[in-house]
Symmetry: C2
Subunit: 361 residues, 2 copies
Amino acid sequence: MEYFSSNSLSDFSTAIFMKIGCSTEHAELAAQVLSSADLRGIDSHGIARLIGYVRLWEKDRINPQPNITITHQTPSTAVVDGDQGLGLVVAPEAMQIAMQKANEVGTGWVAIRNSNHFGIAGYHAMLPLQKDMIGIAMTNASPLVAPTFSKERLLGTNPIAVAIPAGSEPPFVADFATTTVANGKLEVLQRKNQSAPLGWIQTSEGAPSQNPKEVANGGALLPLGGDKDHGSHKGYCLGAWVDIFSAVLSGANYGPWVPPFVAFLEPSANPVGDGIGHFVGAMRTDAFRPVEEFKQHMDQWITAFREANTVDGQEKVLIPGDPEREQEALRKERGIPLLPPVSDSLRQLAEKFEVEPPTRM
Amino acid sequence: MEYFSSNSLSDFSTAIFMKIGCSTEHAELAAQVLSSADLRGIDSHGIARLIGYVRLWEKDRINPQPNITITHQTPSTAVVDGDQGLGLVVAPEAMQIAMQKANEVGTGWVAIRNSNHFGIAGYHAMLPLQKDMIGIAMTNASPLVAPTFSKERLLGTNPIAVAIPAGSEPPFVADFATTTVANGKLEVLQRKNQSAPLGWIQTSEGAPSQNPKEVANGGALLPLGGDKDHGSHKGYCLGAWVDIFSAVLSGANYGPWVPPFVAFLEPSANPVGDGIGHFVGAMRTDAFRPVEEFKQHMDQWITAFREANTVDGQEKVLIPGDPEREQEALRKERGIPLLPPVSDSLRQLAEKFEVEPPTRM
């Protein structure tokens, strides 16, 4: 494991995004989204993916200078065409539109098509917090998940993030894949050569598996719940909901047609829409009750949960966002730990684009 | 098991609701919501609960003639005070407000306080379908669920329902508790004297349990996921999201303060809000893209999932709403099966209020 300062990684990502043709503004924004994942401990969605974005660009699947446009709107809704840009850039711009609409009519909801992987959903959902708004962000993703009873992979890990402001307490930030486990967690297990618990994966024939590489062998991730007895149909409902809001509302590809993130797999020859889809929303808290009153009750909500008695062996009941905040404090001080394959990928990129590699702490 | 025609049960519920003082219109609406649960096979939320509502009324916890008012609003949002009315009546009225707002500005979102149990979330979420709108409904509920690592019960089963119109296919209707299993499923197991699978329940000390009566002994239901390894923190996030939208936005009671549905348990002496809370939303599909285009893609989405290859032993991949539609077709023909304790409770009510009991088929 090598440690890098967050700033150094962020500068490096910015430089690479500029090398592939992004404007300074877009490159810095995209780097910030990746950096936010690394700081928050979502290793799978940070700079580890930088080389993946570059490979997609090499395949002409990412437009570094997108003309992001609203193609349809009402006072509280919009559809945005991302012009094949980086989701890391398209999603924050779409959220700005949602926040503008929330300013005007209380809430704003934007469905986005023709985009690419947007990094961590939590980054986008947290943008409205600074305006005392609630943020919601979801995205569909490469089909790796088998719905309940299905042998086939029809859904992505389709995450949902919800960020809710509080008063003296830190905000409530839930950000989770609608599977028992995010694909990134499996990638981490693979890099560490560890096996997965039962209930995460099935083989290509639908049998239980503990092999974190099973998905590469045609197997599938399982929806949250794991099996029918434990509510996997509910996880399937959640993933489907995200897929439909992100893509059927926007005109993006959905279900098995969602283009894969990895550049070595070709997108469907018969797409049903444009690129991948996201859905973001912003709600003014004062569209419901006075901000201070809302925040005071959020503080009380948070305190009640944080102070609950725990089961044996556990220190405290966590508030959604707590683990990421702890990581962030730690990593700001100690730096971002990168596994050798990840730091190697950065050196590769540095060489390829003749950019200074990030410096170790 | 005794079988009753849906109409006969519905007429009976209407008569009982009128006896406790509801207007004809409200009594019929409340009966329709219960009947919809029985038809769709959600036995726990149908007429089995009628006696529960009556007991709450006897405790002065339900106002049969509520003055349902909007206390705050913006073009896309409202807060509704249910005046301690039946949730069965308050929620559909709130959804009408959401739909009116969606008509005007694309989407409408209503947070409701001072209400009571609203029956199945799916009924309310399905109301917008007839206007080619997407419907969302959620509610908080009596605290029976322990968040991940908690010994204490801080959340309800807090269901979410999402209904999305399609074209020639039936609509997508997801309606699920954010626990591995709804409390109603445990009530059914109790009535049948059966035990529960592991992963559904914990004891009052936080140990695994298979006793469906554990919750009555101070134990708790578990969030969707069951344990941390299988994503119970995600189920906790979902339940918390529902609680905050339903109650912190509206000014209802949240978390451990939510008043219990059962009349023999007293509500908190120090409430943090009014009654229980719901949150409903309506989104015009044509606020995003032309209705026919949207429906055509929903049909394609549904077909792709329905036609997927299944794991061994399973006939087909279900679309959310399929199982309930199958039950509805069956029960319209064969009648609603009621377990003896339920049909006995109806005879009790018939005697008490001097109303004709429902007739068996």
